[in-house]
Subunit: 145 residues, 2 copies
Amino acid sequence: MPEAEKRFTKYLCEHQYKLTPQRKVILQAAREIKGHFNADKLYDESSTLDKSVSRASVYRTIPLLVEAGLIMETMRSQSKTSYENVFKGLYHDHLICATCGKIIEFRNDELMRLQNKICKPFNFKPTEHMTAIKGYCKKCQSKKN
Amino acid sequence: MPEAEKRFTKYLCEHQYKLTPQRKVILQAAREIKGHFNADKLYDESSTLDKSVSRASVYRTIPLLVEAGLIMETMRSQSKTSYENVFKGLYHDHLICATCGKIIEFRNDELMRLQNKICKPFNFKPTEHMTAIKGYCKKCQSKKN
DNA sequence: ATATAATTGAGATTGAGTCGCAATTACATT
DNA sequence: AATGTAATTGCGACTCAATCTCAATTATAT
Ligand SMILES: [Mn+2]
Ligand SMILES: [Mn+2]
Ligand SMILES: [Zn+2]
Ligand SMILES: [Zn+2]
């Protein structure tokens, strides 16, 4: 059993949620998608694997996958919420160019450590960090002249 | 004329937009709100000042205020977009409780410095940072048991 | 096998945000 | 001051991502 499925199973069990075929399919679909995806995309991919999976189940499963630490909400664009897979040790954040929309991914361990540290004095238990830095990419800076 | 209104006037003029009574009222309402607000809240405050201002005009004016640098989008919580006034030198970020929606503001200079540092190797010129940490506030953690 | 609480798909509903339109208005030009 | 015109307005209808309802089904413990 792949690591992700193991983790999901554990999460479901710990919360008295059931491991259903639909949830397995949706997890698998999520894992197979490279890069960012939204609910619709996840529904499409899930349908390809098993066309009996409903849109409602996809919407219902997304928060479980987030809670289990398998996917994360990354951003909202075009009024849709975007997610992406969390692969072990592959947390990252985003630089977003305000002009061309280019997205640069980066990973910075110090940033993650700092974010956890910030929560402590508030007794706040973090589940997701989202850092988005907006600005201008190299190309768009030179175009500006 | 207050600084904010001057800036808004300049922005509108530069883009061939008109300075209408409605836009003045909405700007004033935005300025008078302390802390975070969403479109509905801004509509309520605007209505108090001038009850002829419509919800549509509020929605249409928000992007202008953002573009003019007078307010900024801070986060999305409980499926509503939140804004707050941009006052010079009051940079901060947010902890957001996934259960009750509570928002804790914090300011961390090290985080700011780190974010700037991160951009350099990408030749990325940052204009805004947005860090949102989602999780559970103290109260909601204990309720969970 | 049985009990039971969780989950499902289908379709209805919600609600933040957008849009179309005819009437109005800001503002530049005479 | 009067005119022209493109921008803006309020209203209400619309969109559509996300949530909810509910009867039927199903995963799991006993
Ligand atoms: Mn990414
Ligand atoms: Mn704030
Ligand atoms: Zn760019
Ligand atoms: Zn809370």
